[in-house]
Amino acid sequence: MKLKYIFLSLLAIVKFSACSDDDNIDTTKPEIEIVTPDDDEHFHPGDTFELRAILTDNEELASWKVDIHHNSDGHTHSQVIRLKHGGEHSHEEEEWHFHKEGSIESGTKQYVLILEIEIPHDAEHGDYHLGIYVTDKAGNENKAFITFEVEDDHHEHHD
């Protein structure tokens, strides 16, 4: 019987110590809300769109990064498709890549990121991924992704 009591009291100790809180460490990620553009929106080469995102953190935001790249470097395009692309489309089309980063003034808990982004005239058409990355002061990171399509000028616009 004695053993059972020892066992139970040990469990109680474990439970108690497991619940003790840590001294002010921040493991909460910042949050990202992408306002514009919508997911799966369509654009044409030469268009300009506004990227607007609301970044919030429980403690303090630190920095952001925006990365736009063509879906061809995802894991879907095989060698064959790439060659076909290269063959069918003239060489003036360039895979468009956009990269921008910035830091956020210290002490900020909420930051509205606004970027006017111009799609180059020679941007290769297709699906693009837009990713927003945010860190807070403690080093917690969050990211959000949307997809948009860049289509030919003479293409029908289907909304």
Binding site: L3, S17, A18, T27, K29, H69, T76, E141, K143
Partner: protein, 789 residues
């Protein structure tokens, strides 16, 4: 270091010189020349029990005649009278009274080679009864042992909250390689093969050197088979991924030589998960028909062993090949894309991306036994060939696919040569000295269009001594020391394609060059002294206590030293640090064992103080590489890790028994001006395993029908490091049934198991799929038929 060694030798010599009379040293063996620990040995001048290697010794025997009497339950006693006119060295062979009882008795007094360590032995019988996917997963119920899982078919061991290179896996005396790679693949060991597994919880640096910080998993399939021809055949079926598996063992023992061969085959489909979709990078990814696409796989294993058994020695040569091919969930590679996770109408196909793993091993194990000494020598060669196949893709638009094997993304070819030798010398009943050396050479070459690990060469050499001292029946002390030298050389890897790609994107030359240097040339030499001191106290009544203090270490890995780039499994930019030092930790642990008639309670608290825990720390720098966010750098930090394991067993009545295993771990970095007191990554939450067993016919012991109901309760894990996810707790229910039968005239058993009976949706905090929010496998019912002949 040297002084202590000399001191030890002096001590031994004085002890040896002090003899004015003679000593009688003996070795007790069974009919198969296997040493018998735990035999009672009586002479006129005293009484002793044989040690783990079947040895006993009597000093101070005056020159006259003395009788010797050796007894062991189930064996015919041995009696003789010696005329003592000098030192005597005896080999005593006991004959069993009944062959069946002999097997049971041997299992009952399992060797305990390092009595002070917290050790747990699981026999081949238990393993095959509890088999659950992989060998490592089967052990998950043990206190202090956790698994990092990758779906239903691969797991890595975690002991005391430490995994990867902080745990050593030893297979047939040689350190198994393959742990150093990412969390997305498991241990390459045939789940049917192991004849005995021992889990050492706590640092075991003296005998195992670098990496043995959290503990050691010792797997052996080196047992000499019973006389004559025998074998077994297993058939396994699982519902969660429609596994069909089978394993055949054939063995022959002709007294002086033996052979063993095993072939195992496993084939499984996509596994079931209790969810309709997962959340990956803020996207909902559907899991069609609740089956994780492309998680199917197959495994084919072969094992051959031949051995010779002499009067005083045993030697065997073993070769094995483990081959696995298993798919990766395509939704977990790259940016989420729903097209890739559409049901393809086939649950058993393995499409790209997948991994193929081949592990070849050849080992030679030799043991020489005399009344004073046990000498072991192990030599091993291993080849780890690991390939990841994924349709050719590039993160840098200008890369062209290779002409040969265009879809081979990563290939690692690691060759390892190991050699160990150990000499255990029992001088008196009180003093035993062990000296040993370990040597290892590694040569890693890589291939594929991706890049992850650099080419590297690594040498390690270690020497150690240990002294065991039994003061009396109650007090035992031990102390040991080890010196290691390690040399790591990594090859530089410069990626001109990446350089041009960065330049084309408008990045300046200096930064482009930094990114293009995917691995730095690093040449480092390390040396390290580790030590251990401990005691064990056996009270005359119902309890015993052991405590250990020591220092353990591990040599930094090639990627920790030199990596620079995206780790394609984690999608993080990981940067190595060529100035890292060997990770070192002081530790203390204790084990209190209380045995009261039908109850046994074990409590093992432990604490580690790391002077430089090496881990990937998130930084405030953004990586310029596509698909990546912040850069993670390998850093060193002071850290504290502590915890406790509790196990409790009770035979409630002749029919009922209960087993409870609990574990709790706490860890954190030591805060300084740079870093707050963050918990360490991959920490197992507190957990409790309970199993209640019912034996239908207790008189038949292991041959009775048995029913078991078990549960695993896991607490919330809210103590997370940065960029980890909090993981909710869960309770799983399971059940087992063991039914001995006879098929024809052959003894057999049917073993039915249910895991996750309520089909609970839960996450394993340490699993590779955790951050993708892919839950662990759902309900699984499995049946195993085991026929022995």
């Amino acid at each position: 270091m040297r002084h202590i060694f000399i001191l030890m030798l002096c001590l031994l010599f004085t002890l040896a010189k002090g003899q004015t009379s003679y000593h009688i040293a003996g070795l007790v063996l069974d009919e198969n020349n296997r040493p018998m620990p735990g035999c009672h040995v009586k002479t006129e001048s005293g009484f002793t029990v044989t040690d783990a290697n079947g040895r006993f010794i009597f000093n101070q025997i005056p020159a006259s005649s003395t009788s010797i009497n050796v007894t062991f339950i189930g064996f015919q006693p041995f009696d003789t009278t010696l005329i003592v006119s000098g030192h005597h060295h005896l080999r005593i062979k006991l004959s069993p009274e009944d062959v069946k009882l002999n097997e049971v008795a041997i299992n009952g007094t399992r060797l305990n080679t390092a009595p002070n360590l917290t050790r747990q032995t699981i026999s081949g019988n238990q393993l095959s009864q509890q088999i659950n996917g992989t060998l490592v997963k089967t052990l998950d119920r043990q206190a202090g042992f956790n698994t990092m899982d990758i779906g239903a078919s691969a797991s890595k061991p975690v002991i005391r909250g430490m995994g990867f290179n902080r745990v050593v896996v030893v297979n047939n005396g040689v350190k198994q390689e393959g742990q150093q790679w990412g969390a997305d693949h498991g241990l390459e060991i045939d789940p049917f093969l192991s004849e005995r597994v021992e889990i050492i919880r706590g640092a075991a640096s003296i005998e195992h050197g670098s990496d043995a910080i959290g503990g050691v998993l010792e797997i052996s399939s080196n047992r000499v088979p019973p006389s004559g021809f025998s074998g077994s055949w297993q058939l396994l079926g699982k519902s969660v991924n429609e596994t069909a598996g089978s394993s055949l063992l054939l063995q022959q023992n002709n007294g002086s030589y033996f052979f063993k061969g095993r072939i195992s085959v496993l084939d499984y489909g996509d596994y079931r998960v209790p969810t309709d979709n997962i959340l990956y990078l803020t996207r909902r990814v559907p899991i069609e028909n609740r089956r994780l696409k492309n998680s199917a796989g197959k495994e084919q294993d072969l094992f051959l062993q031949g051995g010779l058994v002499g009067e005083n020695w045993r030697s065997s040569v073993s070769t094995s090949r483990v081959w696995q091919k298993s798919g990766f969930f395509p939704g977990a590679h790259g940016i989420p894309d729903n097209n890739r996770v559409k049901d393809d109408g086939n649950y058993r196909n393995i499409e790209l991306p997948y991994q193929s793993v081949e592990h070849w091993k050849a080992t030679s194990n030799t043991m020489i036994q005399t009344p004073h000494s046990v000498i072991t020598a192990d030599i091993g060669y291993q080849l780890n060939l690991r390939q990841e196949w994924s349709q050719f893709h590039t993160h840098f638009g200008n890369l062209t696919p290779p002409a040969v094997d265009p879809d081979l993304e990563l290939e690692f070819k690691l060759q390892t040569l190991s050699a160990n030798a150990k000499w255990n010398f029992r001088l008196t009943n009180q003093h035993t000295l062990t000296a040993g050396t370990q040597w290892q050479w590694q040569h890693n070459r890589t291939g594929g269009y991706g890049f992850l690990l650099p080419n590297y060469d690594r040498y390690t050499t270690g020497i150690y001594v240990r002294h065991d001292f039994a003061l009396n029946r109650n007090w035992h002390f031990n102390a040991g020391m080890r010196y290691d030298i390690a040399n790591v050389e990594t090859e530089a890897f410069y990626d001109p394609i990446l350089y041009n790609y960065m330049l084309a994107r408008g990045v300046n030359e200096e930064t482009s060059a930094f990114y293009a240097q995917r691995a730095m040339e690093v040449s480092r030499s390390f040396d390290n002294i580790s030590w251990l001191a401990g005691f064990r106290y056996h009270s005359a009544s119902f309890w015993s206590l052991s405590m250990n203090f020591g220092k353990s270490f591990r040599v930094p890995t090639a990627s920790e030293l030199s990596a620079n780039g995206v780790h394609h499994g984690s999608f993080r930019h990981e940067a190595g640090n060529q100035h890292l030092n060997p990770e070192q930790s002081l530790f203390a642990d204790a084990q209190l064992t209380i045995t009261a008639d039908k109850r046994k309670l074990l409590i093992s608290p432990y604490i580690y103080l790391f002077s430089n825990y090496i881990f990937l720390s998130p930084t405030a720098e953004w990586s310029h590489l596509p698909h990546t966010g912040q850069i993670y750098r390998y850093m060193e930090s002071k850290a504290l890790l502590g915890g406790m394991e509790i196990s409790y067993n009770e035979h409630l009545s002749s029919h009922w028994s209960i087993e409870i295993n609990g574990e709790w771990i706490y860890n954190r970095q030591k805060p300084d001006e740079h870093v707050a007191a963050y918990p360490l990554p991959f920490s197992p939450p507190a957990n409790l395993f309970t199993e209640i067993s019912y034996a239908l016919n207790p008189a038949k012991k292991e041959q009775s029908v048995q029913l078991m109901v078990n549960s695993k309760a896991v607490a919330n894990q809210n103590r997370i490091s940065r960029n980890e996810e909090r993981t909710a707790g869960y309770i799983l229910l399971g059940a087992r049934m063991f039914i001995p039968v006879t098929i024809g005239k052959l003894p057999a058993s049917i073993n039915i198991q249910g895991h996750n009976l309520l089909n609970t949706k839960y996450y394993n905090h340490m699993s590779f799929y955790r951050k993708l929010e892919i839950p662990e496998p759902g309900r699984n019912i499995q049946v195993m038929l085991n026929i022995t002949f």
